[in-house]
């Protein structure tokens, strides 16, 4: 089938302002006299290439931070992730610090507390790792992780992540577009959906042994094929410039920034191309609460809480970081067309 690769996500001018500049603006504005004009607006700062570069060099994201731990990962993967390039996928929002991104997780396979995954997933065996590709494709088979990644260069993208539980983060991922990955398997015209499975290994994943869980394992997520090949949809193997920590879904996880976090399935071992809509885990567990699409939408409440606002983590009690949730998590321009004509309160 034909996969469009037109870069629809070409960033708006407002998005191009490097987030490091944004973070640095206060210090910047303080610099006094000669920059007084800059106080009139951020755009002025962002327009000056020199300044942007100086600051970016001083305070490059994430990736060069020496304090980011390296979890178990094969040498080739560490090198590949380290060799990533920057991309234009940036946000104006400040990055969520690494300890929060890697210490506050929902990964029920490793426990229900937010700190449980960091504690229980650290010894997850991620090498060797392979992914079964099946269904409506010309090239089905079992691919090793190295096989899958070999032809691709990796880049860093900074995406907002909005959890269905009304908290959010801003995360620098390393990976490549899902479209590039899927293309290689040559989906046939029958491939209307893509289904992903998380590893099922109760011995390593204590949560899969729980009896009082409404969740069936393995965890299954899915996308419509046009969502899957949207340029925003990302397959991540790294975080903050290093390979993914297990609690964040090592070695391979999906990132779909305009959907609630549970769509971004972790530790993927199976990719299946289907003609019918996949039966995804949360839809099975609570169809009235979680839909297949799960697009971030401030106007459609979760039955048990409002989705109009979110707590941008890390939050503090005295200066609450409550912000308004944006339609499609702020990626409306890039993805709204996928749903034109659909009643989003019905297809939530």
């Amino acid at each position: 089938m034909l996969i469009r690769t037109k870069n629809r996500s070409d960033v708006r001018s407002s998005e191009i302002t490097s987030e490091t500049v944004y973070q640095d603006r206060r210090r910047f504005l303080k610099k006094g006299g000669q920059f007084a004009l800059a106080g009139l607006g951020l755009t002025l700062v962002g327009c000056s290439d020199d300044l942007t570069q100086t600051i970016a060099a001083k305070n490059t994201p994430a990736s060069t931070d020496v304090n980011i731990p390296q979890f178990n990962a094969p040498q080739w993967l560490q090198q590949k992730v380290a060799a990533h390039t920057k991309s234009q996928f940036l946000t104006e929002d400040a990055l969520t610090p690494y300890p929060t991104v890697a210490g506050y997780n929902n990964f029920y396979e490793f426990g229900y507390g937010k700190q449980d995954p960091a504690e229980h997933a650290k010894d997850l065996i991620t090498d060797p790792w392979s992914v079964i590709v099946e269904g409506a494709v010309e090239k089905p088979g079992t691919y090793t992780l190295e096989d899958i990644l070999k032809p691709h260069d990796l880049e860093e993208r900074i995406y907002r992540l909005r959890c269905v539980e009304a908290w959010s983060m801003v995360v620098p991922w390393v990976g490549y577009s899902l479209a590039n990955m899927l293309k290689r398997f040559q989906p046939t015209s029958k491939a209307k959906y893509v289904e992903f499975h998380t590893l099922y290994d109760p011995e390593q994943m204590p949560g899969q042994r729980s009896r009082l869980s409404s969740i069936e394992y393995p965890y299954v997520e899915g996308l419509r094929i046009d969502e899957a090949i949207n340029p925003l949809t990302f397959m991540a193997v790294g975080l903050y410039g290093k390979t993914l920590p297990p609690q964040n879904g090592a070695p391979l996880r999906l990132v779909v920034p305009w959907k609630y976090g549970f769509k971004s399935i972790k530790s993927i071992v199976r990719i299946r191309f289907t003609e019918t809509i996949p039966r995804t885990t949360w839809v099975k567990s609570g169809p009235s609460e979680y839909g297949f699409f799960a697009n971030v939408n401030p106007n459609v409440d979760h039955p048990r809480w409002s989705q109009a606002m979110e707590r941008r983590l890390p939050d503090t009690l005295w200066e609450p970081n409550r912000i308004e949730t944006r339609m499609f998590n702020g990626y409306e321009e890039e993805v709204a067309h996928l749903y034109s004509g659909m009643d989003l309160s019905k297809y939530y």
Binding site: G103, Y104, W167, S213, R304, W305, L313, P314, T316
Partner: protein, 195 residues
Amino acid sequence: MDWVARTKLLIFPLCLAPLGFLIQAVLSNTLGPDPANTLTRDLGEWALIFLCAGLAITPLRTITGVNKLIRFRRMIGLFALLYALLHVIAYLAFMLGWQWLTLLEDLYKRPYIIVGAMAVVILVALGITSTKPMMRRLGKNWVKLHKLVYLAASLAVLHFLWLVKSDYTEPVVYGLTILSLLILRVPGFKKALRF
């Protein structure tokens, strides 16, 4: 001072300890990246624990035959009320940021909030009528009124159960605890307990 009064002096600060730890955690900023959620949850859970403890006193009395145990009941009950009120305040202040409109919306739309609010209203009524003059004034009705604590505890468990996304272990444990404490009050069981 008899042993009950002395023990109460000991238990009182013990009941305050969870609050102390939480305050300390708030001040030292060790509640994690989502402190509003953690604090609210913890306070709610302590309210539930004290409800269980309060409900355990009567069966304990039946089993041990130590009637004086009844004198701990009001104190335990009032601590349940204290933690429940702090739970509500934490929710209003830190989860809702005092946005009353959101509260109204929650109360109107969300069953688990309604159920939790009902439990708190009951606990407040019981707290207000927990003094000796009130007991005298209400006479026989006092006992009837205070049986509402069974309802409050059940509603609290329902509130918890409804809130959970997937893992029902904790609310189920509280639910079973409260259920067994209530069953122990059924006359048939009560008799059996004495032997």
